[in-house]
Amino acid sequence: MRWLLRKDLLILRRSRLLVALLVLYPIAIALLIGFAISRSPARPRVAIVDETPPGETVKVGGERVKVSAYAEQLFNQVNSVPVATRAEAIAKVKSGDVLAAVVIPPDLTARLSSATEQGSLEVLYNGNALEQSLVSSTLNSALAQANLAFSEQIQQAAAKAIDALLQGGNVGILGAPEGLLGLREIPGRLQRIIAAEPPGHVRSELQRINEFAGFAAQNLALSKEVLSTISQPITVQSKLLHGRRTPLNTFAVVVAVSVSLMFVCVLLAAGGLALEREEHALARLLRGLVSRETLLAEKGLLAAGCAFLLAFAMLAGIGAFVALDFSRVGQWLLALAFGALAFAALGVAIGALAREVRAASLLAFLLSLPLALLALVPSGSVSGGFYAAISAVSFVFPFKACLQALDAAVNGASPAIGVPLLHLAGLTIVFGVLARVGLRHAE
């Protein structure tokens, strides 16, 4: 095995372009996937036309909320491009300068102030079905957030008006007298008047008015709480059942390293074995010079070793920028070693089937990339049946198990590292046997 290994290392050393591709390509793919996972979606570029007259306000009780506040909320949710007219907005959407345009109509204030009509916005967008879907969902979310923030402002204004009614004083409502009596004070004051009044019709009428004033004050105070409940009826308190919560950026690191480990390992193992066929050397080697098992082990160990070193260097390098727990380095090494061996076994199985390096590389690539992406599909994002099928496919290939092992090793995530390591060991044996069967007929 020593001489075969030496030969393959010599060939690798002389294949600089291949080595560069094997290192750079997976890292590029891994970084892309890592960025896609760890970064929140970019804010869409949206043109906003505010046709409401400047300084226009919506009157809520004694409070006035500026309509421009709504536009400001919307501006915060998107990458806003203020434009003056609807025509200008349409031109920007058509040219692709912006994904969509939101037109705030001039009658928005009147509608909101009427308390009987809803305000409405006009959304203009363009593009293919995918862009339309993206714009529609992104804008709906942005508008919902702007609506929520605006309704909170209105709710705060209403609450302030209720407070003024309850407590009295200088209410600030246009036309209201200074030092107005608060609703809460009325029952006490009225009670004192009633006490001085002789029994009779007037006293009993005053008694009834006093009861109403007490009831009104109590319920008006309650309505303020009801208002805040209506503005945000459900709040979320989350609790993780098992393991530690993995921060998104360290999970992205784990994904990036797993993808690199997979690509280098599978491509190198598959290509290395296929090269023996392509050079017509396989039959010569297998006529007693080396056993099939030795040949498979050599190719697998070479690929696993190279991928292991690359992945560990990547993990340690990323650790300089992302907070990783280096005290768990022993577990990192275990996860990387088991993952590399399983990927190498998959690679030699592919190499045993292919007759030339290009076919082996293509097959390895076509198989690896979709499997990696499938393993990243979160449960609940697809239908139950489809997710079960994805899980079954992910189970019989090493990517998901490697991801779990590395996540457990790096982040202490659940399941514990033992389970995925056992899974990877099993897959190594299964793919090793498949490779041996594939190599039964050398030529």
Binding site: W3, L4, R6, K7, L10, I11, R14, S15, E279, H280, A281, A283, R284, L285, L286, R287, G288, L289, V290, A442, E443
Partner: protein, 239 residues
């Protein structure tokens, strides 16, 4: 002449197709045996069985694979390694007692000493074939099996290769080779085996084949082979 290799009642099938059927022959030390016949006759299958890269369904070969040097039709070499590195690698894998000496001997025999450091990828087809044969000879096997060794070589390269092989036979190595080039068999082989449809139809000297094919002594062996095969087909059809 002492017998160095014998093939006894060898048969091989690929599914329904018979590649070889009951083929037997023996060859002595220093003998050059040419295996000729039409496409699909079973020449490569026979050479592969002799070399031990293919197991026969029936019959046997007297020599183990380790005793037979094998040069496949396509040079089995690593193109990114130099001539020297290829020879060294296979000398190590063959567990030759003194790999350095074996490599030096092969470089001298192939006349590629001055190109030893050159990557195989840069060699001509003829020189690659010489390295291919040299690898087969590293362990100094008593028998050499060559599958169409001169295919894709130009006449001068072919000439040099046959000089080399004739030298080996002169030193006592038994050479069994397959070829499509019948004149090559006529020039260099002491014996010809004619295979057709997996059956051994003729085993004798090229001169005897000329006679069987109705050609005069020194005539064209290719014509003789064609007539011989036509006559066999006609006889089979009569039956």
């Amino acid at each position: 002449m002492s017998e160095l290799i014998s093939v006894a009642a060898v048969a091989k099938r690929y599914g329904d197709r018979t590649a070889l059927e009951d083929v037997s022959f023996a060859a002595g030390a220093g003998e050059i045996v040419a295996v000729i016949g039409p496409n699909g006759a079973g020449k490569t299958t026979l050479l592969s069985i002799i070399a031990g890269t293919l197991a026969p369904d029936a019959g046997s070969v007297s020599r183990a694979a380790g005793d037979v040097g094998w040069a496949p039709q396509q040079p089995a070499l690593y193109s990114k390694l130099s001539v020297l590195e290829n020879l060294e690698l296979f000398a190590r894998l063959e567990r030759v007692a003194d790999p350095a000496a074996a490599v030096a001997r092969m470089l001298a025999q192939t006349g590629l000493g001055d190109r030893a450091e050159e990557p195989v990828a840069r060699l001509s087809g003829g020189n690659r074939q010489r390295v291919n044969v040299a690898i087969a000879l590293l362990a100094e096997p008593p028998v050499l099996a060559l599958d169409e060794p001169s295919a894709s070589l130009d006449p001068s390269q072919r000439e040099r290769l046959w000089e080399f092989i004739s030298g080996l036979a002169g030193a006592g190595t038994t050479v069994v080779f397959s070829t499509h080039n019948v004149s090559e068999a006529q020039r260099y082989a002491a014996r010809t085996l004619v295979l057709s449809g997996g059956r051994l139809l003729f085993d004798g000297t090229p001169a005897a084949l000329l006679g069987d094919g109705g050609e005069p002594a020194g005539g064209d062996l290719e014509h003789a082979l064609v007539r011989f095969l036509q006559a066999r087909e006609a006889r089979t059809a009569e039956r």
